[in-house]
Subunit: 119 residues, 2 copies
C-alpha cells in the first residue's frame, strides 16, 4: 500500500502523468493486465525503456506488478487517478462557480440598466 | 495563445500541477487576479521563488500575466485545466466501465450458481 500523504501523492501522480507514453500505458492497461513485453510491442520501444516508465508509474502507485517472477504482469490501481481527478474537478467547479457568479452579476446589471432606461 | 498540440500540452499541464505551491497558487487565483507580491505573502516564500513557479505556470498556459509593467497581475486560464480534467475523466470512465462489466459478470455467475444449487 501507498502510505504517502495525498498532497505528496498528487505530486507524484501528476508528474507520472506528464508523459505521453505513460498515459498510453495506463490507457492500454484499462483493457486488462499486461506484461512488459506485451506493453513494449505497440509502442515500438525497447523493454528497458518501457521498464523505466513502469517504475515511475509503480512508484506513483498508479500501477502494481504481479508476483509471478517471470511475467510480473502490470495492472492499474484506481486510487491516485481518482484523487487527481477530484482535485481537478474541485478546481474546475470553483472556476466555473466564479464565472456563473459573474454571469449572474452581468445579468443583474443589464436588467437594472434596462429597467432604468425604460422609465 | 498557446499553439501547442493538446498531447504536448497535457505533458506541460501535468508537470506544472506536480507541485503543491503551484497548485495552491492556482487555487488562490480562482478568487481573482493577484500580483507576485500578493501571491508570495501567504506562502511565506520569496518573490524570486514565486516568480519561478509563475514562469512554469505561464509556460504551461495555466496562467497569463497582465500588461501593466509594474504589477503584471496573474490570472488563471481555463483551457489546459479543462483538457487535463477531460483526459482524467475519460480514463476514469473507461476504468469504471470495466468494473461495472466485472460486477455484472459476477452477478451473472452468482445467479447461475444459485440456480444450479437450487435444482
Amino acid at each position: 500500500m501507498n502510505s504517502r500523504q495525498p498532497a505528496n501523492r498528487l505530486d507524484t501522480t501528476f508528474a507520472a502523468l506528464a508523459d505521453p507514453t505513460r498515459r498510453a500505458i495506463l490507457a492500454r492497461l484499462i483493457s486488462g493486465e499486461a506484461t512488459v513485453m506485451e506493453l513494449a510491442e505497440p509502442f515500438a520501444l525497447s523493454q528497458p525503456s518501457i521498464s523505466k516508465h513502469l517504475k515511475v508509474l509503480e512508484h506513483a502507485g498508479l500501477i502494481s506488478r504481479g508476483r509471478d517472477a517471470q511475467r510480473r504482469p502490470c495492472r492499474i490501481e484506481p486510487v491516485p487517478i481518482a484523487e487527481a481527478t477530484e482535485w481537478l474537478e474541485s478546481y474546475r467547479q470553483l472556476w466555473e462557480g466564479r464565472f456563473l457568479q459573474l454571469d449572474a452579476l452581468l445579468d443583474e446589471l443589464k436588467a437594472k440598466k434596462k429597467k432604468r432606461s425604460s422609465r
